[in-house]
Symmetry: C2
Subunit: 395 residues, 2 copies
C-alpha cells in the first residue's frame, strides 16, 4: 500500500510536469501564424512562416470550398466562413475547434469589426447578413436583405469591414450596396444605396478603408462608393470593365480581392482577356494594359507595391507571373504546380505562399530571388490566410 501511494504521487507529479512542459512549448507569438484551407477534406492546416511548417491540422469544418478566414485582433483566433453556412472559431495556438455554429444554409465570406468584437457573415440563403459575438458566437444582429416589394431576399456578397465600426456589403439580386454602422451593436444603422448596377457579384474595400467597389456581373463597369462622402452616393467607374464585349470565353470571374494597389495605381485582372489593367487611383481611369500568359484571376501586390504577382484561370493555372511595377513588365514566371489558386504575402513582403491544389503542395517563394524556399505537402490546398490580416482594414 505504501509503495502504491508513493507511486501514485510520483505519477501524478510526473503527469503534471508533462502537461506543464507541453503548455510551455505552446507559449509562442501569433504574429507569424496562418492557415491553409484543405478544400476537399474540410480541414485547415495551421502554419508558421518563420520556419515554414505545419503546426496543427484542424478537422470537422464542413464544406470549405471558397472558404475564407479573418482573425481576432490578438491573432489567437481564426473565424472560418464555410460555403455550407458554418462559422467556425479555431484556436491558432492549440489547434482546437473552439466553437462552431451553422448560421445559414449557404454563405459566402465574412468580416470582423474594427474593434474585434463582432463577426459578420454574408449569406445566400437566407439572403442577408448575420452578426455574431466574436467571443461566444452568440447571435447579435440579423439583417435580412429585403428589397423591392419586400417579398424576396437577396443574396449578399462582397462583405467587408470598414473604419468606425461599420460593415459594407452588396445585394446581388437587388443591385444595392448597404452600409451598416454597428457603433451600437444592438441597434445597427443601415444606409442603403439602390440602383448601383445589375448583379454585383463581389466587392472590395481599398486598403485605406475609404473606397468600396462592387464588380457587376449583369453589366460592364464597377460601382464605387466613397465612404468619406456617403452623400455623394454610388457612381460608376471603368465602364468597359466586365465581360459584355468579351471575345474570349470567361473561365472564372476575377475576384475583386485580387486587385493590387501599388503606389498611385491599381492593377486588376481583365475579365476574359490575357491582360492586367492598370488604373489611376486618382481618377479611376485605365492608364495601361499589360499582356500576361492567361486569363488572370488574382493580381496581388507585394506589400511594398514593387511587384504584382498574377495567377490564371485554366488552362494556364500552373504558372504565376511577376510584374515589375515601375517598368510594368513581366520580369519572371514561376510554376508552383497544377492549379495555383491563391497567393498570400508575409506582411513585410519577404515571402509569398502559393497553393497548388492539384499538385497537393503549398510552395513558399523568396520574393527577392524568386527561388522556392519551402514546399509543404497538403491535400488540395486552396485559400491561404495569415494572422497579419488581423491588423489590416478590410481583410
Amino acid at each position: 500500500m505504501r509503495v502504491d501511494r508513493r507511486l501514485a504521487g510520483f505519477a501524478a507529479a510526473l503527469s503534471c510536469l508533462i502537461s506543464a512542459s507541453a503548455l510551455a512549448d505552446e507559449l509562442r507569438g501569433t504574429g507569424d501564424l496562418g492557415l491553409v484551407v484543405e478544400r476537399a477534406s474540410g480541414r485547415i492546416n495551421i502554419i508558421e512562416t518563420t520556419n515554414p511548417s505545419v503546426l496543427h491540422t484542424v478537422e470537422g469544418l464542413g464544406d470549405l470550398s471558397h472558404a475564407s478566414a479573418v482573425f481576432s485582433p490578438d491573432g489567437r483566433y481564426a473565424y472560418l466562413f464555410g460555403r455550407d453556412g458554418g462559422l467556425s472559431k479555431v484556436d491558432m495556438l492549440t489547434g482546437r475547434l473552439v466553437e462552431r455554429v451553422m448560421q445559414a444554409g449557404n454563405a459566402i465570406g465574412g468580416a470582423i469589426s474594427q474593434d474585434g468584437t463582432l463577426i459578420a457573415v454574408s449569406n445566400y440563403d437566407p439572403g442577408g447578413v448575420r452578426v455574431f459575438d466574436a467571443e461566444t458566437l452568440a447571435p447579435v444582429a440579423d439583417i435580412p436583405a429585403i428589397y423591392g416589394d419586400g417579398a424576396g431576399r437577396s443574396k449578399v456578397v462582397g462583405l467587408v469591414d470598414a473604419p468606425d465600426q461599420r460593415f459594407v456589403f452588396s445585394l446581388y439580386d437587388a443591385g444595392e450596396i448597404w452600409v451598416a454602422d454597428f457603433a451600437d451593436p444592438g441597434d445597427p444603422q443601415i444606409t442603403r444605396f439602390a440602383d448601383i448596377g445589375r448583379q454585383p457579384y463581389d466587392g472590395l474595400i481599398t486598403p485605406d478603408g475609404r473606397h468600396y467597389l462592387a464588380g457587376l456581373f449583369g453589366e460592364d463597369g464597377i460601382a464605387l462608393l466613397d465612404l468619406w462622402d456617403l452623400d455623394a452616393g454610388v457612381r460608376r467607374i471603368l465602364d468597359g470593365y466586365g465581360h459584355g464585349e468579351d471575345p474570349l470565353p470567361v473561365y472564372k470571374m476575377p475576384h475583386l480581392e485580387g486587385w493590387a494597389s501599388a503606389g498611385d495605381v491599381l492593377f486588376l485582372p481583365a475579365v476574359g482577356r490575357h491582360e492586367v489593367l492598370v488604373v489611376d487611383r486618382a481618377n479611376w481611369r485605365e492608364v495601361g494594359r499589360i499582356a500576361v500568359r492567361g486569363q488572370p484571376v488574382f493580381a496581388v501586390a507585394r506589400p511594398d507595391g514593387r511587384q504584382v504577382w498574377v495567377n490564371f484561370a485554366h488552362p494556364d493555372n500552373d504558372s504565376v507571373q511577376i510584374i515589375d511595377v515601375p517598368s510594368r513588365e513581366i520580369i519572371h514566371t514561376v510554376e508552383p504546380g497544377e492549379a495555383a489558386l491563391h497567393m498570400e504575402f508575409t506582411p513585410r513582403g519577404g515571402q509569398v505562399w502559393i497553393s497548388a491544389r492539384d499538385s497537393n503542395v503549398v510552395r513558399v517563394y523568396d520574393t527577392r530571388t524568386f527561388e522556392p524556399v519551402a514546399t509543404l505537402p497538403m491535400e488540395t490546398p486552396s485559400g491561404i490566410f495569415l494572422t497579419a490580416r488581423a491588423h489590416r482594414i478590410g481583410l
Copy 2:
C-alpha cells in the same frame, strides 16, 4: 508517515496543477500587445489593447530617454534601443528580459530586417551601425561610419529597414545617406550617397518602403532617395522646410517619424511655426498649411488616413489636435495631460494611446467619439510601441 506521503503526493499534484494553470493563463495571442517606456525609471510596461491594461513591468533597461522598440515577426519579442547603447530583448509574453548587450556608448534607435533575423542599431559613439543576430544578440556585422579622409567617424541617425533585406541610414557629420544590403549578412553591400546636405538629423521611410527622406539640421530642405531608382541619386525637396528663416524659437526639431501619410498627401510638422504643412506625394510640393495651437512635434495619421492627430512642443504640450483630412480642418482638441509626448494608433485605428509624461498617465481614446476609454497610471511614460509594428515596413 503514510499520511505524510499521501499529503506530499497531493501537494505535488496540486502545485503542478497550479503551475500548469498559470502557464495556460499565459497562453495568449501577441497581436494586441505593446509596450510603454517609463523614461525616468528605466522600465517598460507591457500592455494589451483589447482590455487596456498593464500585464508586466520589466526593469533594468538602462537609460531609456528617446528609447524606441521594434518587434520580432511573431510579435513575441521586443528589441529596445536605449540612449546608453544598451540593446535589450524582452519576452512580451512572460515579461522577462531575455538578453541585453551594451553595444555602444551612445546610440539612437534601431531597426529589424525584413526577415526578422537581424537587429541593426545606429550609434553616435562610436559612430556607425552595428548589426546583431535577433535570436542571440551575437554580433553579425559592424559598419563604422568612416568618411572624408577616414580620420573621423560620423554619428548615425534615421536608421530604418527597407524591403529586400536592406537598412538605410544617414551620417550626421558626413552629410551622407548609406544603403546597406544584407542579402548576405556576412558580406553587407554598402551604397553611399555623399553631399546630400548638411547635418541630416533624422530620417523616415514612406510606409510602402520606397522613399527615404532625411531632415537637415544645417540647412533648409529635405534629402530624398528613391529606393526603386538608386541610380537617380539623392535629390532635394521642400526647399523651405527647416528652421533657417524661422521667426519663432524652435523648442524641438520635429521627428520625421511624425509625418503622416494620408491618401495622396503628407502632413508634416512645420519647424518652429504653429502650422502643419500639407505636401503632395506625387511631386513633393507643399499644397497647403493648417494653423494649429502650437509648434507641432508629431503629426500621426489614423491608419485609414481619415484623421491626423497632432501634438505640440512646450508650452502647448498639454493638448492634441485632430485634423479632418478631407476638409483639412481642426475638428477636435483633447487634453490628455501635461507633456503629451507620443501617440500610437491600434493597427485598424479604433483607438489611439497617448502618453502624458508629467501627468504620469497613458490615456486611450476612441477615435470615432474622441472620448477617453481608459486611463492607465504610469511613471513618466514616453514612447508607446505596439507589436503590430512587426508587420509594417520601416517601423
